[in-house]
């Protein structure tokens, strides 16, 4: 599916691509025949672990698969101790499918129907780890995500003020991870301005404290356009400086 790679994905690591067309007809669940090496997980472009193979190291996440494999995988053999997390969109976005350690799956047989739709994937130490992309946000950065729980496209900043997210990120943020040592104040307009009204009150900033990750709820959802990082000073709390 979609493969919108954000700037943060520019340094992504592509896995080794091993093309090994296997003889035989289309596999069924009863005729699983993969040759995935122990310790990794492999994608196949036919059902039942057949066809061309893409071998992956679960410790090397892939936020956007090589175009030759985009929307191509139809089955997976996970021979690693990690959960194999498969996603419909780039940056761990869209529908999620987890395959347990030691598991095999023909994707068409699963409820998520990601056969022919996998665009990004990673290994996770737990199944819960398949549902977050926050780990992409490095310490010291304020990160914005286009989907919930740090999934989908991501952008990040280190500046104390970002006065205009620009056309690419204005009004797009669904979740936030403030991985800086300061508190973050978000605004609905460029230039650190604007306000929200809800339940008879007016709010001048949406605050995410240092170290917190969160979904952005209404009325702030989809409106964040600029931000400032603040700290306490002069005996005043940090949010006084929002």
């Amino acid at each position: 599916m979609r493969q919108h790679l954000p700037r943060a994905v520019m340094g992504m690591l592509l896995v080794a691509l091993v093309l090994a067309v296997l003889p035989g007809s289309r596999a069924t669940a009863a005729s699983w025949t993969s040759h995935c090496a122990a310790g990794g997980f492999c994608l196949y472009d036919q059902d039942g672990g057949q066809g061309a193979e893409l071998a992956n190291d679960p410790r090397v996440p892939v936020q956007g698969v090589d175009p030759a494999w985009n929307d191509r995988a139809r089955s997976v053999d996970n021979r690693s101790p990690y959960w194999a997390c498969l996603y419909a969109d780039a940056g761990y976005g869209g529908t999620v499918q987890a395959v347990r350690p030691g598991g095999q799956a023909t994707l068409a047989e699963l409820g998520t129907h990601l056969d022919g739709k996998v665009t990004s994937f990673k290994g996770a130490k737990s199944k819960a780890g398949c549902f977050t992309g926050y780990e992409r946000c490095e310490t010291g950065r304020l990160c914005l995500f286009a989907e919930e729980s740090g999934r989908g496209a991501m952008t990040s900043f280190t500046e104390d003020e970002v006065r205009d997210y620009g056309a690419g990120w204005n009004d797009r943020t669904v979740s936030v991870f403030n991985h800086t040592a300061k508190h973050a104040c978000f605004y609905p307009e460029n230039g650190l301005t604007g306000s929200w009204s809800a339940n008879g009150s007016t709010y001048r900033a949406f605050v995410v404290l240092s170290g917190d990750s969160t979904f952005v709820p209404a009325p702030y959802a989809g409106t964040l356009s600029s931000d400032r990082l603040v700290t306490a000073a002069g005996g005043r709390p940090a949010t006084d400086f929002c």
Partner: protein, 498 residues
Amino acid sequence: MKHTLVRRAAALRTATALGLAASVLAVPGSGLAGAADTGIVLGGITLAQASATTPFPGITRTVYQDADRTWTVNVLDIDPSRAPITFDGSIGQGMYTTQTVQEMLEQTTGVSSRRPYLGVNGGYFDDGVVLDPANRIFLGDLGGTSLKNGRLLSEAGGGRYVYDTVTGKAVGLRPANSVLMLQNGRPYITELATGLSVQLSDDGAVSRKVDGVNRLPGRAGHCLRNTDPANTDVTVVGGVCFDPSEIVEFTPEFGARTPAPDVLRQTDTTTDDDPGVEVLFNAAGVATACFRPGAAPGGIVSDAPRGGHDVPPGGRALEGTGDGATWLWDNACAGKPVTLHTVITDTRFGDTLADTWFGRAPAGAVEQPIDPALYATPAGDVLIRDASVVYQPADDTARAWRTAGGADGFGHLFFVTVEGQKGGPAPLASGATRSEFAQLLKALNLVDAVNLDGGGSTTLNLRDQNGNEPPVTTTTDSSPRHVADTVYAAVGGYGLAR
């Protein structure tokens, strides 16, 4: 509180026999995970759903009870994906003491509407040292790896048995303990080992083990570990290690002045009696003070016993007893720059979680800091891993009230408590066994779950309309117990009114 580790050969066999089927993750709302709509079974008793509420967006509380109210089970299902929820933990006023969960939750912020939505008691701690008997306030020494603020606050404890895969017999211990980690918006249960040392900054070959963090020198609770041939003067009594020769590190999170000799004031315990040596380090890792009884004052050296000093802001204190005191005196007090080295390993996967240096790091050292947004608390037995019940001991009869943390198939954080009927006559009123608890959690569709501290420590608190955090569980004690830490779900983001 203290807990006993039991043999789990069967559990290991189960863990290695994971099924081959893929695990399907449907979209939220499909009903595949979370609290059961009907009754659940705990220890052979069917519990009916007594209530199901949504006290806050993204948080569902389901209560189960049996007809006789022998047991009450609270299930908190916390979904951070579509609500402003973040996960964290608190050690309250410091590592040196204990507080109620309510106190710790209410102290997280002065703004009542921004206090955590809910919290439960956290890790096991050493209840063998009571600071205030009248109020049952314990020393807050967590019994295993504790991480907060990008620092290691407590060393790994409670080793895990290693079983012979053929005979099922314990053949040794591995020095790691289970932990509940809250990081990147999701729970993660694993086992962590810590390696701590102090060395000369100019000669890494001159080094000594650092035995502990933020605890009394001479006493390590939850100490189940292999015999150390290089440290044969350790005695183990009731799962507590007594070592007359130690170096213990203190961070500012200790929250009190460093402990003086003989804090225990126990005539049968002498391992904490040594006046020893104490060295204070500033935030740059430079030694600024050294205390040793009988020492000739001069430079950084003072004629005084260890203890009674504040840890410098951003700095450290090291207390040494026995040959640990000798090492500190011969090196740090002698003006030789020293460096602390901390390595934390995720023993499930064998990778390094952190590799940090305090003081001048050796040339070429690659720092791997502890994530400042990570909270980890030491847990007990892992009950469910990768959707399989891995706690299946041959004998498991100990009943107690229980607290667990875990995750379901959608990555939601779950807190589950089991209360018995306080003072009730039913034979099962004293609580559930770990095995029964594990089966209950499996019935709730948890994929991963770990047993947290329980018994009188079991506490679940919910924020009320006034922003207070009263317990919604009862307690086996006369009042909510003071515990070492709490783990909680908090407000992830909020509007700032004009």
